[in-house]
């Protein structure tokens, strides 16, 4: 049993080492608050169970994602080939966890009288996530399903209606064993048994995880994202060409030396392209009332994600480029050490607020468009304002910085934002509409307060670059 316990413990160790442990707990806690809001607003006693089950489910799902990635890495080609019993144990543990998750889903579904749907939904999510590790295309299944739901013009062909027509017991009786068979067929290919094919895949898998952790993609490893990555970089490249020709302040030049991932322009493409694509799409589509209600929240959330990525990648880029920073410091015309933190903070915050403005405008316009004008400007702007305090993460002691947390920071920011939007949806039912004005003002005031404090502290710190020299 100790062997199985050790296998299970690895994802916990990894979550603790990269901060995802706290991200999972905080997300679960925020979701519990959101559920409490829903419960209080609806007054339905059956929703009380959600307060316990849903946060636990979120935690379990986060843990499952970490477990699968950890288990795949435990099954490194040399281990798969040479460590006795390891591969078989990994397969058995994965199957048992999937089954446990599916049973949890049925429990959650039972709260609403639909144990079967709950079982299938959680089992499917877990299966798709596991499949996605080996076959990345599987990750697009939920997106395709949502698009199909929106685009199929005849409601009678909607998958959901078709399944409902067959009936929950029958679909569960067929669907769950079917998923179990797919899982049984697929699991050995998730945990390959060594050899060249395994090594090639493991290398790609490691690059992909590294890209998620650091936000830095290698174009050759991610053909599916290559064009988008190039488009994002082109804004940075054009801007660099311009400042090289026209000249820029040493502080501005220093920012370019950190690479495209630390430059705000890299992240402006997503909200702008979403804005350009979504408005004609809205004209062509007819949304259901349900989707109309969620769209403003969802879109605001989507367009604010680049801010989290920007903040995360600034930290990673600064951590990684300490040698280049040293070279820049030696160049003639470099920012003097006594003025360096001021110049750096101004550049970083300037980039953040420019990006925030683009994201916020995009979020507000999209939210208004997709809600048919129902969602107020103040409401949407306040949602966007919830991201403002994140800017404080840019003001830190870079000279003594430790290894960045990587994807967990983004996950925390993104997860927190999503959960807050859900919570705010429930609060909207509880409180007077002016709450959004109050939230917006509170966000701005909190940000101002944090920035003043952070600015003073950073000015008193040793010169930021070369980073981590005092760590």
């Amino acid at each position: 049993m100790n062997a199985y316990r050790q296998i299970l413990k690895q994802s916990g160790y990894e979550m603790r080492s990269n901060g995802a442990w706290w991200a999972a707990w905080i997300s679960a806690g925020l979701l519990a608050v959101a559920c409490l809001g829903f419960f209080a607003a609806s007054g339905k006693p059956e929703l009380l169970g959600l307060i316990v089950l849903l946060p636990f489910g979120v935690f379990y799902c986060i843990w499952w994602t970490m477990f699968i990635q950890s288990a795949v890495r435990q099954n490194a080609p040399s281990h798969a080939q040479l460590v006795p019993y390891l591969r078989g144990r990994l397969i058995r543990v994965t199957a048992a966890l999937w089954l446990a998750g599916a049973l949890y889903g049925s429990l959650l579904g039972a709260l609403f009288g639909h144990a079967g749907w709950g079982l299938l939904a959680v089992a499917l999510f877990m299966l798709i996530f596991a499949l996605k590790q080996r076959f990345p295309q599987a990750g697009s299944i939920p997106g395709v399903a949502i698009l199909a739901y929106i685009f199929i013009p005849h409601p009678e062909f909607h998958l959901w209606l078709l399944l409902n027509g067959v009936g929950e017991p029958a679909v569960t009786a067929i669907g769950f064993p079917l998923m179990a068979i797919i899982g049984a067929v697929f699991l050995p290919s998730l945990y390959l048994g060594g050899g060249d094919r395994h090594r090639r895949w493991q290398t790609t898998f490691a690059y992909r995880l590294e890209a998620i952790r650091t936000g830095i993609m290698r174009e050759s490893d991610t053909p599916e994202s290559m064009h988008w990555n190039r488009l994002q970089r082109s804004a940075y490249t054009m801007s660099l060409k311009r400042v090289c020709a026209d000249g820029a302040t040493p502080a501005q030049m220093q920012m370019y030396a950190l690479g495209p991932n630390a430059h705000w322009m890299m992240y402006a493409a997503t909200p702008l392209v979403l804005l350009l694509l979504a408005i004609p799409a809205r004209m062509l589509l007819q949304l259901s009332a349900f989707l109309s209600g969620l769209a403003p929240l969802y879109l605001t959330f989507i367009v604010m994600i680049p801010l989290g990525c920007f903040v995360q990648n600034v930290g990673i880029s600064i951590y990684r480029t300490s040698t280049e920073q040293g070279l820049m410091q030696l160049a003639p015309g470099a920012v003097p050490a006594s003025l360096f933190n001021r110049a750096l903070a101004r550049e970083l915050l300037g980039g953040f607020f420019k990006l925030w403005l683009i994201c916020a405008v995009s979020g507000v316009v999209l939210g208004r468009t997709f809600s048919g004008g129902e969602a107020s400007w103040v409401y949407l702007l306040s949602l966007a304002g919830l991201m403002l305090p994140v800017s404080i993460l840019l003001l830190r002691n870079y000279a003594a910085m430790g290894a960045p947390y990587g994807s967990s920071a983004t996950a925390l920011i993104a997860g927190g934002m999503l959960i807050l939007t859900i919570a705010s949806r429930s609060m909207k039912m509880l409180l007077w509409p002016q709450i959004w004005t109050a939230i917006g003002i509170a966000s701005v005031l909190l940000t101002a307060l944090l920035l003043v404090r952070g600015w003073r502290r950073m000015m008193a710190m040793p010169a930021a670059f070369p980073a981590r020299r005092m760590a």
Partner: protein, 292 residues
């Protein structure tokens, strides 16, 4: 004769159109300690990986303890220790957590040896709780060696195990290898470029060149018998040695022959007289000559 632990028969391996191994035949008997030598890119790592079944071969067969390398039983796996060239450790763990993980996977685990190695190799209390991801490459390599030795393997394969170690680390490793591993009659195959280390440890040496084992011999015998014979081509052209490794024409009609002359052949050479220069070879000379 000892039973075969590793048997490689007519193994070829290509990466795309690039052949790396070309019909390698290699048999390692139980208890042998073999140093594998070859130039950079000669295919040493590939050969060791094929020997362990970590890579599929393009042609030929590999067996480990009579199991086909690609279908090892768990009992056979438990008898093998492997130190890859690049440490392949779980970066999110500390050394103690990593060792606990592998201890749980293996049916046999020498906890006293692990503790002894950790203590002797500088893993103090702080180091034992340090995340592997922030350890130096040399520290990771030492940990990788401890992990490979911990289950008292019957076969130990080491791919440039000391490449990242400082002189103290190398000395500690060699002492461990000589005092404990080899004394236990463990079969050891290791590749290295540090020939002085190999001379201290290896009983046999094998040279990989052009995708084949060009020369394999007990090290002492090889060093005692290998000679470079240099002289006029007119004198040497008539000479043929039973164990001739290489013959190379030099400038001005001079020919150089690398061979392991028998006693009779040596006697004949001496009769050949003053025109011939006969030199013993060091391992480094041999390496240069054989892999040229």
């Amino acid at each position: 004769m000892n039973a075969s632990v590793v048997n490689i028969a007519a193994v070829s391996k290509s990466f795309g159109a690039q052949p790396v191994l070309d019909g390698v035949d290699w048999d390692i008997a139980a208890g042998k300690v073999v140093g594998l030598l070859g130039r950079n890119g000669a295919g040493k790592s590939t050969l060791l990986e094929c020997a362990l079944g970590l890579r599929e071969v393009s042609a030929g067969d590999v067996t480990l303890f009579d199991d086909p390398a690609t279908q090892l039983t768990d009992a056979t796996r438990a008898r093998i220790g492997y130190v890859p060239q690049k440490p392949d450790l779980f970066e999110w763990l500390t050394p103690l957590q990593l060792l606990a993980y592998f201890k749980a996977q293996y049916p046999r685990w020498n906890a006293a040896k692990v503790e002894g190695l950790l203590s002797r190799w500088g893993f103090d209390a702080a180091m034992r709780h340090k995340p592997i991801g922030i350890m130096s490459v040399g520290e990771q390599q030492r940990l990788s060696i401890i992990r490979a030795l911990a289950h008292d393997p019957d076969l130990l394969i080491l791919d440039e195990p000391v490449a990242s170690l400082d002189p103290v680390g190398r000395r500690d490793f060699l002492r461990e290898l000589i005092d404990d591993v080899i004394e236990r009659d463990t079969t050891v195959i290791f590749s290295t470029h540090i020939l002085s280390d190999l001379e201290r440890v290896a009983l046999d040496v094998a040279f990989l060149k052009d995708g084949k084992i060009a020369l394999q011999s007990p090290l002492d015998e090889l060093l005692e018998s290998a000679r470079r014979i240099t002289g006029p081509g007119s004198t040497l052209s008539a000479l043929r040695f039973a164990d001739e490794i290489r013959r190379e024409p030099g400038g001005a009609g001079i020919v150089s022959i690398l061979a392991r002359p028998s006693v009779a052949e040596m006697a004949a050479l001496r009769v050949g007289g003053a025109l011939l220069q006969i030199e013993p070879l060091s391992l480094e000379d041999l390496f240069v000559e054989v892999t040229k």
